[in-house]
Amino acid sequence: MSGMTTRPDRGGDLPPRPPAVPDIPAQPGPEAAAAGPPPAAATAPGADDPAAGRTPEESPAADPAADAVAEPAPRPDRAQYGVVAFLALVGGLVIFDATTRIGRAINTADPIGPKPVPILLGVLLLVIAVIYAVDVARGGAGEPEAGEDVDLTVPVDWRTVLLLIGAFLVNAVLIDRLGWVISGTILFWGSAYALGNRHYVRNLLIAVALSLITFYTFAIGLGVDLPAGVLQGIL
C-alpha cells in the first residue's frame, strides 16, 4: 500500500545486508537507460546470498563499487554507488540528447526553445549524483521500503524476481500474437508459480477464469483495447 504516501526514509543505519547482485535482463531499448533500474552491484567475497551463486548477468554500467574491496563489518551499503552511477548516466544522456539531437527552435516567439530545460535537468542530475556520492561516502543510507508482506531480514530473492520478470516478458511478447486471454493466463499462472504456489491445476483454472472475465468485461463490455489474437471469432 505505497499508494497514498511515500514512507519517509528515516535515514537510519542499515543492518549489514548480504550483497545483492541485480541481474538486468534484456533491456527493452534505449529508453530503459532513462527508466531502467539503478545498476547496482556490490560483490563481496564470502557472500552467503543464494542468488550470488547463480549466474546473473553483471550490470554493464560502470560501477565504482564493483572494484572496491570489502571492508570488515559494519559494511556501508556500497551498492548505493550504483545509484550514483545511474543518476550520472541519466544526466549525461539528457545533456547529450539536448546538445546533439534536439534541433533549433524555429519559432522566434519562444525565446527559450526546447533545449535549456533538459540541459538544466542534466546538470542538476550530475550535481545530485555528486552530492549523493558524498552522502554515501559519509555513511548515509536510504532505508529500504517496509510493508505488510515485506520481510527485510531475508536477502533479495532473485529467483522469484527473475521468474516474475520472465512471466511478464512472455505476456509482452505473446499478447499481440496469441491474444490477451492466452497471454494473460500464462502471466497469472506463471506469476503464481514464481511466487511459490504449487496448485498447478487450480491456478490454471483461476488464471483462465480471470482472463476470460477481464476480456469480456473490459474488451467487450467497456470497449477497452485488448487483443483477441488467435481466439478471434471464438470468444
Binding site: 526546447p114 535537468l121 522469484t160 499462472w189 506469476s191
Partner: protein, 500 residues
C-alpha cells in the same frame, strides 16, 4: 449562495441509480484495495484509468471519489488487525489500534475508525466546499510566473519536507522530471525519444504510475516475501459502547481540525497531522495510562486526521491544479486523460463535473459507513488471501491497464523498465512521490515557465511576477535553507533563551 445551488445540482447528478452504482463500486473497490496489502488508492486509480476512458467523465470521477475515501478507510482496517501498516499515514493508527485489537477490542477500534472517518470526511468535505471557491478566485488572478513559482514550491516541498533524506528526494524528483521531458515538446522538437516513434507522445502517466506503483511494488515484495503472513486478529461486528462514544467524539473533531489544513497546503501530507493528533490526545486524555495499551482516543483522533487531510488535498488539486499526494497526482492525470484542464478555470468550464465530484464525496462517505460497519468481518477475511494470488493479480491487472492505454506491447516493456526503476527506488530508499509529481507537474511547469519568459523576451526577470511569486520564492528559500537556518539562527537563539 451560487455554490450551494451548484452543490445541490451535483447531488442531483449523483443520486441517479446508475451513478449511485458507480459510487458503490468505487467505495467497494477502494476499501478492498485499501485492506489488501501492496495496493494503495493511487495505484488503484491508475490501474482503473485506462478501463474508464470509455465511461462518462462524471461517472469515472464518482468512482474515483469512492476509491479515494475507501482506500483511506481500508488502510486503517489493515493496521488495526495486522499491525503492519503499509502507508505512513496509518502508522499512528496501528500504535493504539492494534493494541486494542489484541485486547479483544477490535470491534470498537474499527468502529471508532469508521465513524471517525465518516465524521472527519463529512466535515472536511464541507470545509472543501467553503474554502475552494475563494482559493479559485485568488488563483484566477495569478499569472504564468506565479504558477511557475507555485509548481516549483510543490516540487521543493514534496521533496524536502516529506521524507528525511533530501538528496534521495531530489534524485527521485529529477528522474521524474526527465521522464516528463520525453516526447515532442511544445515547439515540435523530439526530446529523449531516441528516434522511437512510440515515445513521440511521451510516456503516458498511467504507464509511469502503474509501473512505479504496481509493478515496482509487486517485484519488491516478491523479493522479500514474508513466508508466514502476519497474524490476522478475528473481528466481529464493529460497535461502540456509550463510554467509547464519549471518549471518541472530541478526538474526531480535533483530528479533523489538524488534518484538513495540513492536507490543503502543499506538502502537508497526512503524517504530521496524524502524529500531532496522537500527541494531543495523549496529553488531553483522562486515561493517559491507557496509551500504549490500546486507548480508543489514539485511534479516533489520528484516523479522523488522516481522512480530513485526504479531503484537504483536494483543495489545491481542484482549485490550482497542484497535487500534494500521490492519489491527487494520479487524479490530476485522470482529468487530463479526459481532456479537462484542472485549475481555477475548472470551476467555470466544468462546473457541473466538479460539483458532481464534490457531491459524490459526501455520498461516498456515507456509503462507506453503511458498507463498512456490517462488512468488517468480510474485509478481515480479505487479509487472508494467498499472497501468490494477490501479487500475481497485481501484475496481471497492471499489464492489462498499461496495454489498454495505447494497445501496443511496447508499453509493456516500458512498464517493466519502470517497474525495475520502482524496485531500485524501494531498495535504496528513494521516495516515490517526488517522481510521480515530477512526471505530472514537470511538463506543466515548463509550459508556464516558458510562457512567462516569452512575455519578457527571454529575460530571467520574467519569472518573477507580482508579490505572490516573491512570497512563494521566499517560502522555497526558507524550505531549502532550513537546515542552515536551524543551525545558525534557531539553535543560537534557543541557546540564548536558555542562558537568559
Amino acid at each position: 449562495m451560487d455554490n450551494f445551488a451548484n452543490l445541490l445540482d451535483g447531488f442531483a447528478n449523483v443520486l441517479t441509480p446508475m451513478n449511485l452504482l458507480f459510487a458503490l463500486i468505487g467505495v467497494t473497490i477502494g476499501t478492498a484495495v485499501g485492506v489488501l496489502p501492496g495496493i494503495g488508492p493511487a495505484m488503484t486509480v491508475a490501474l482503473l484509468l485506462p478501463v474508464t476512458y470509455g465511461m462518462e467523465p462524471a461517472q469515472a470521477f464518482i468512482m474515483f471519489a469512492g476509491i479515494f475515501y475507501g482506500g483511506m478507510y481500508g488502510g486503517s482496517t489493515t493496521s488495526i488487525l495486522l499491525n503492519t501498516p503499509g502507508e505512513s499515514s496509518s502508522v499512528v493508527t496501528a500504535i493504539e489500534g492494534n493494541k486494542m485489537a489484541k485486547a479483544g477490542r477490535a470491534a470498537q477500534a474499527l468502529a471508532t475508525a469508521a465513524i471517525g472517518s465518516f465524521v472527519a470526511g463529512t466535515i472536511a468535505t464541507v470545509l472543501l466546499v467553503v474554502v475552494t471557491p475563494p482559493v479559485v478566485q485568488f488563483a484566477i488572478s495569478l499569472g504564468a510566473p506565479d504558477y511557475f513559482a507555485l509548481m516549483l514550491l510543490a516540487f521543493v516541498s514534496v521533496t524536502a519536507v516529506l521524507g528525511a533524506s533530501r538528496v534521495r528526494g531530489f534524485a527521485s524528483l529529477l528522474l521524474g522530471l526527465v521522464i516528463g521531458v520525453i516526447g515532442i515538446d511544445q515547439s515540435g522538437q523530439q526530446r529523449l525519444t531516441f528516434g522511437l516513434p512510440q515515445l513521440a507522445d511521451g510516456i503516458d502517466v498511467v504507464v509511469v504510475a502503474v509501473g512505479i506503483f504496481a509493478v515496482g511494488e509487486a517485484l519488491w515484495i516478491a523479493a522479500h516475501l514474508r513466508r508466514r503472513s502476519g497474524e490476522v486478529i478475528p473481528v466481529g461486528q464493529p460497535w461502540l459502547g456509550k463510554q467509547d462514544w464519549k471518549r471518541s467524539w472530541k478526538p474526531w473533531l480535533r483530528g479533523t481540525a489538524f488534518g484538513f489544513p495540513f492536507g490543503a497546503v502543499p506538502a502537508g501530507g497526512a503524517e504530521i497531522p496524524t502524529f500531532l493528533s496522537y500527541v494531543t490526545e495523549k496529553k488531553l486524555s483522562k486515561h493517559p495510562e491507557e496509551f500504549g495499551r490500546g486507548a480508543i482516543e489514539g485511534v479516533a483522533g489520528p484516523e479522523a486526521a488522516n481522512n480530513a487531510s485526504a479531503a484537504g488535498t483536494l483543495v489545491p488539486m481542484l482549485a490550482i491544479g497542484l497535487p500534494t499526494n500521490a492519489t491527487a497526482a494520479v487524479m490530476l492525470a485522470a482529468f487530463e486523460g479526459y481532456g479537462i484542464q484542472p485549475g481555477p478555470l475548472l470551476f467555470t468550464r466544468e462546473s457541473s463535473l466538479v460539483w458532481t465530484l464534490i457531491a459524490s464525496l459526501f455520498v461516498g462517505n456515507l456509503l462507506l459507513l453503511v458498507l463498512n460497519l456490517p462488512l468488517a468481518p468480510a474485509w478481515a477475511r480479505l487479509l487472508r488471501i494467498p499472497r501468490p494470488y494477490l501479487y500475481a493479480g497485481i501484475l496481471f491487472f497492471a499489464s492489462m491497464g498499461a496495454y489498454a492505454v495505447n494497445a501496443q506491447p511496447f508499453d509493456l516493456y516500458l512498464l517493466l523498465a519502470l517497474g525495475l526503476l520502482g524496485f531500485g527506488m524501494r531498495r535504496f530508499g528513494l521516495p516515490i512521490l517526488p517522481l510521480i509529481v515530477g512526471v505530472i507537474l514537470g511538463p506543466r511547469a515548463e509550459l508556464q515557465g516558458r510562457r512567462a519568459l516569452q512575455l519578457s523576451g527571454g529575460e530571467l526577470h520574467g519569472l518573477v511576477g507580482g508579490w505572490v511569486s516573491w512570497l512563494i520564492y521566499a517560502t522555497i528559500a526558507v524550505v531549502l535553507l532550513w537546515p542552515l537556518i536551524g543551525r545558525f539562527v534557531v539553535r543560537p537563539l534557543r541557546g540564548r533563551l536558555v542562558t537568559a
